[in-house]
């Protein structure tokens, strides 16, 4: 008798556990979960509502940010068109202004490297710096280039515009000279670059209309779920896109010497701090769940998730710790010169100190937050103990 029971039990659990091994839940599992769902009242769900968080992320961060970027780029494109018709200083100023506001919006978008953005390598078309000047110049001169070619990633996007708008001469007069007469190779390159940026952004932004519904329900704790991927994207962006690219590389953390020409927004000599701060605010708002361009709207976020999990470290909540370190990093950045290149050239130690402060946030995100959420950083699937 006992043998029969144990055999039945064995077969049941064996089937159950085998099927749960697959990422794609088998019919058996989804059927049984449907039955269970109908039996179990939703009220007794004790877990955090991850789907609500994903909905908030999609509707109040990702989609409005893409929408804003799309609009910004279309305004930038119009300004470029007007400038190309009448290549005057006044029109040029407008292009620069629109470039900056679109670039600032981009700082809110870069971390969402998921779905279409990941598939078409959006960031590669938008923000690879430093600019490959030689290749850009030869593209302009020949007038023949394919911006889809990965070799041209460093010859387009916001950094290439930075070069085209600020880097072509010693002063504005010299730069403007390059765009005379109208519709020359330089003007044409401006158009090609903005067209590519707009097209890529529109592709991603439009895709979100349909992707959203898939995105918000993908709450499982697996390597391919939206929630885990976006969490990893967020941390990866903070470590690589923000810490390493904006601070580490130019300050010479990863090389024997400083590389001050590798800052973001190098040619303007004005905006590297603005862009870095914008990116830090974007990260902070996302962390605390303050909706994009709507500070009054606060929703589910890493902060509320950590609070739900009651993550406390020595009686301080983990999210408070992260926020206080993040604020320290932000105030440290505020102290820097507007132009990081001159900051590095005059006083790199302050730059390195800022890097360390950002790094201390990286540790809290990568080690403490991921441990609390129990999300793996790596996607190597291998057996555990």
């Amino acid at each position: 008798m006992i043998k029969k029971i144990s055999l039945a039990l064995f077969i049941f659990i064996f089937t159950f556990s085998c099927s749960s091994e697959d990422d794609n839940q088998s019919d058996f599992l989804s059927n049984s979960s449907e039955i269970i769902d109908s039996v179990v009242n939703d009220d007794i769900t004790l877990g955090f509502d991850r789907s609500a968080m994903l909905v908030f992320w999609a509707d109040n961060f990702i989609m409005p940010a893409y929408k804003k970027l799309k609009d910004d780029l279309s305004v930038l494109k119009e300004s470029i068109a007007s400038f190309n018709e009448e290549p005057l200083q006044a029109n040029f100023e407008i292009v620069r202004e629109k470039w900056l506001s679109a670039y600032k919006t981009w700082q809110h978008v870069e971390m969402f490297n998921i779905g279409k953005a990941e598939e078409i390598y959006l960031s590669s078309f938008m923000n690879i710096y430093p600019v490959n000047e030689d290749r850009t110049t030869s593209n302009i001169n020949s007038g023949v280039y394919d911006l889809e070619n990965p070799n041209n990633y460093a010859s387009q996007g916001f950094p290439a515009l930075d070069y085209l708008l600020f880097g072509l001469g010693e002063n504005d007069a010299e730069i403007l000279e390059k765009y005379q007469p109208s519709d020359n190779n330089y003007s044409k390159y401006l158009v090609s670059v903005i067209n590519k940026m707009e097209a890529k952004t529109n592709t991603v932004s439009n895709d979100w209309d349909s992707y959203r519904d898939t995105f918000v329900v993908s709450t499982e704790n697996t390597a391919t779920s939206s929630i885990n991927k976006l969490t990893n994207d967020f941390i990866f962006y903070f470590e690589k896109g923000l810490r390493t690219n904006k601070f580490g590389i130019p300050a010479g953390v990863f090389s024997t010497d400083e590389l001050p020409s590798k800052v973001e927004g190098y040619y303007s000599k004005l905006y590297s701090k603005t862009l870095a701060l914008e990116s830090l605010y974007a990260v902070k708002n996302f962390f605390i769940g303050k909706a994009f361009e709507n500070d009054a709207l606060v929703g589910d976020s890493f902060q509320s998730y950590l609070t739900f999990l009651n993550a406390k470290k020595n009686d301080t909540s983990l999210s408070d710790l992260i926020l206080s370190k993040l604020d320290t990093a932000i105030s440290s950045v505020t102290e820097l010169s507007d132009d990081f290149t001159s900051q590095i050239n005059t006083d790199n130690n302050t730059m390195l100190l800022t890097f360390d402060r950002i790094q201390s946030v990286v540790i809290l995100l990568k080690v403490d937050m991921l441990q609390t959420l129990n999300i793996n950083v790596d996607y190597v699937d291998a057996d555990g103990d």
Partner: protein, 460 residues
Amino acid sequence: MLLKKINFYFKNTHTDPSGLAVFRILFGLLMLFSLIRFWYKGWIESLYINPTLNFKYYGFEWVESLGSYTYLLFIICAIASLFVALGFKYKFSIIIFFLSFTYIELIDKTTYLNHYYFVSVLSLLMCFLPANKFFSLDNYLDGTSCQKIPKWTVDSIKLLICIVYFYAGLAKINSDWLLKAMPLAIWLPSKYDIPLIGQTFMQLKWVHYLMSWGGMIYDLAIPFLLLNKKTRPFAFIMVIIFHLLTKILFPIGMFPYIMIFSALIFFDSGLQKKILKKISSFLRLFKKNPRKHINIKSVSFIRLHLSPISKIALICFFLFQLLFPFRYVFYPGELFWNEEGYRFSWRVMLVEKKGATDFKITDSISKKYFYVNNRDFLTAFQEKQMSFQPDFILEYAHFLGNHFKGQGHQNIQVFADSYVGLNGRLSQRFIDPKVNLFTKKESFKHKKWVIPLNDEIKGF
């Protein structure tokens, strides 16, 4: 008197050979399946071929990755496990299995799992056992089959399994596990997507405690419950429930099945014979002429010829199994933090540890330095494992030092900027950032450059 008893036990007590035969068959088949599964999942490539460097076990630095020949090694190992299951050229096959499997494990300690170690240890033990004396191809070819085998052969497997369970239970008697329900309190709530229990029980604090205490009691008690005839059926049901529960909750691969099938060894010959009968009748389906009888002469029992060397080897084997897990007492500091004496000790699922470790290469004279991007040299999995284990950090520091020396850098120093979080504690600095790791050598000695955990975990 005692010696006499022991002598008598080894020479004159016998048991039915079905148990060992069943064990051999199941072990062989499970291993075969495990190896195929490993291959199918693409892990041979991602874990053994792709990495540019391999983390070596201390003393086994000579074990090299075979590159794409690793596939060949897996084929050899798989064939050996099939032969073990069939009982074909058993002695040779099990030795080949032990060697090839262990070689695979020695290639890179990144993939260390207690259950791989268990397989190595078990297959080593099986090299000494007459598992092919009954119901095997070897019998068919020899024309003889034994009705009895020495009792100690079956008992030795039982002993090994009991050690594994009991030591795993002892290791759970610590303040993190019992008083904080760590790391289950981190792991279980993240299993929210399991139907029915995920969003309910897995989120409850008392469930975390129940499972921590339950796990500890289970591990300590199950050897005795399996040994006792009265409690055995109950114990086996517990084995099934426990391991399948772990299977559902954690990505632990084949381990649950290995333990479940291994537990069959505790049963009397009645059940074992039934299993063999089932296998016989199953095999008979494939026979063209089922009535033709195979003549295998039955011998009452064999005298197992154990050379004195084998005897000493076996004694040493078990002494090692009993004592080696306790080597941690010779090290100061926190075992879970320093991991000195952590591996090969049946410490299963005891810690949730995560780290972030970066390396600074400095020119000691010009003081110029730069940080290394770990992903230039390590796979994501290796980086993860390296980040919180001191011996990995040291080995990698040496690799980096030599690498940059080879590139022509001078006066190289290697420093680690390392932070680790253990069982939900706030991350803290792990490696002394002022210590040039390039000058430190791996040894069994205490690693003084690991900064002690600023907390105490009490217990085993």
